[in-house]
Assembly symmetry: C2
Homo-oligomer: 388 residues x 2
Amino acid sequence: MAGIRDRVAIIGVGCTKFGELWEKDQEDLLVEATHEAMEDAGVSPQDIDAIWVSAYYDFTGQSGGTATEPLALFGKPATRVENFCASGMDAFRNACFAVASGVYDIVLVCGVEKLLDQGSRGLPIQPQHPSFIGASAPGIFALAASRAFYEWGWTKEDLARVAVKNHRNGAAHPKAHFRRPVTLEDVLNAPMIAWPLGRLDCCAVSDGAAAVIVTRPEIAKTTRHKDDYILVKANALAVESIQPYYRSGYNWLGFPATRAAAKMAYEEAGIRDPQEEIDFAEVHDCFTSTELFNIGDLGLVDDPKDAPRFVADGLADIEGKVPINPSGGLKCFGHPIGATGCRMIYEVTKQLQGRADGLQVRNPRVGLAHNLGGPGAVASVTILARRD
Amino acid sequence: MAGIRDRVAIIGVGCTKFGELWEKDQEDLLVEATHEAMEDAGVSPQDIDAIWVSAYYDFTGQSGGTATEPLALFGKPATRVENFCASGMDAFRNACFAVASGVYDIVLVCGVEKLLDQGSRGLPIQPQHPSFIGASAPGIFALAASRAFYEWGWTKEDLARVAVKNHRNGAAHPKAHFRRPVTLEDVLNAPMIAWPLGRLDCCAVSDGAAAVIVTRPEIAKTTRHKDDYILVKANALAVESIQPYYRSGYNWLGFPATRAAAKMAYEEAGIRDPQEEIDFAEVHDCFTSTELFNIGDLGLVDDPKDAPRFVADGLADIEGKVPINPSGGLKCFGHPIGATGCRMIYEVTKQLQGRADGLQVRNPRVGLAHNLGGPGAVASVTILARRD
């Protein structure tokens, strides 16, 4: 198997402001993000050969039309992809295959979600799934977090430091939903949602959209970003059981799908030592505890139980060894499901190009994006890099 | 753009019996079809590198887990694709890109639907769509049919001949839902659903699943079907407006998405004269009138209004110039949405290999599969061929 390595290039990215966007509908957000990406790439709608789109909760017409209709891009191929909370990054992955196969030249990927319009609707989920019997997302993730408290000695303070770090980053990002720093005391004193997860340990319900334009490197060399297009080094997906907590052998500590996807991605990208070779990462911090698990599952620490120390020692800070969620992450952007994976690709691309909207990581060469869904059932790991 | 031509091979296919399968659930059907395909290919579940799945109406957990969970194929990449009634063929298309890109060697595509379990639930559809204000699928397709009656002089008999032909074919197919011939009088005297479409002009509500194993030709040469693997010549998708009837300039005669996808597919396959080069076709006959429109939209007649004569003259019969729906089509299999596109690939593959379950087309070399959704908003056209 050949891997996608170096055969796909990102030449444009776009992203709306995330937040409670009551005055805009899904179509507005999709148009805004995709046109920003096309403008960034210097391509027009007519240049787009094909489209991949994700929009998890929009049950009114599941087809590529979710993108083509608001964009009035008729007669072209357009596919809608679904993979729980990792739908956005899987749309990107499928688009990369089509580009790498040589079938299309310029492809648009976009993800959108008007999550606030969903009210209190739960995740659509199989009857075998714990959510089906009433467990909420915080409730399920809290089971894993409390297991780490018991097995590994993690504390509420360990979790809170993730929120403090991510809010410090997000406060500087003009497109973030929440742009205010929080203190350790704020997080520790926030109302409890599902022990040990307080309100500031949880990501919010937000609306948003993001978009990416991909092509092959030889075409990228002829575009506006000819000097700073970004290469896709790896693009891995792993689907574990939708009922991870029911599978025998599951120890409740971290997410096997992330570990499987990371292993594939590192092999594909030729990365032997992620701690040294990954310069920064946008990871799926739907809860502060999830970010700590991700740091372990992605191999950014030797022993997963030491992830809290990695954060406490400042290694995940914007000036640290491997900045984690320089954008502020889901903690500050919320998690409009279809959009999140594309928003991460947007952020990693702009960081690598040295034009981050918020805090800029210092001279990064290789960035990782990690999108988790299910919970824990689906994980995407994408590795992007500068050309030089 | 390179096209997929000759870079992807089909090495195994599987299909359940279609029908009112109350005693089986979605998971049972998926397992049955995929294991038949793997057995046909001579591969085991562990040989599968990645999976694409379609299941349109299953809203309980939209992810690749729809396939990996019942198959217990954990830790692998799996993507769920949505494209209205063409979801199954678009899952196949995305899998072909991944194989052509060289990223995976052996890929499983599967589609499934327990349509009977949906009761009277309508198609999930955007508020702009005519269905949203109460129009049923027969009601919408009847508008186009009656337009052809008015503009082109089509008659109820013209439509009925399609049903008679397809039921003659389906009666011989052991996997069809309906296995009985019908007469012209049966069709003309059937209860009216939406004029001019009577009950025997409409496809039924059925359950079913189908699966396909794809790989690259160099690998196909080492498999059980090394002497008769099937090549993918083209694999096109076009998305038109979800509200075709509202777009100015739409004349209600045929489906622009089919014409756009057919144009792309013929270019990709290098087909200049489909009437001479396509040996047979499985087309989306959700209604008898739709099959007539498809014959025109696919360029199998010079003038689309002459499609009824093509059928009346026996040219679409199993022994005719271009047999249409040798399986019996949606008329005899029903239309379990996620499964239909994969079922068509199954049928065209087995016909080309000379091992059709039902009536065998005489020595075909090139076959076409056409999947329509939306209605009329999405069309997939796949062209398959024998190697020799």
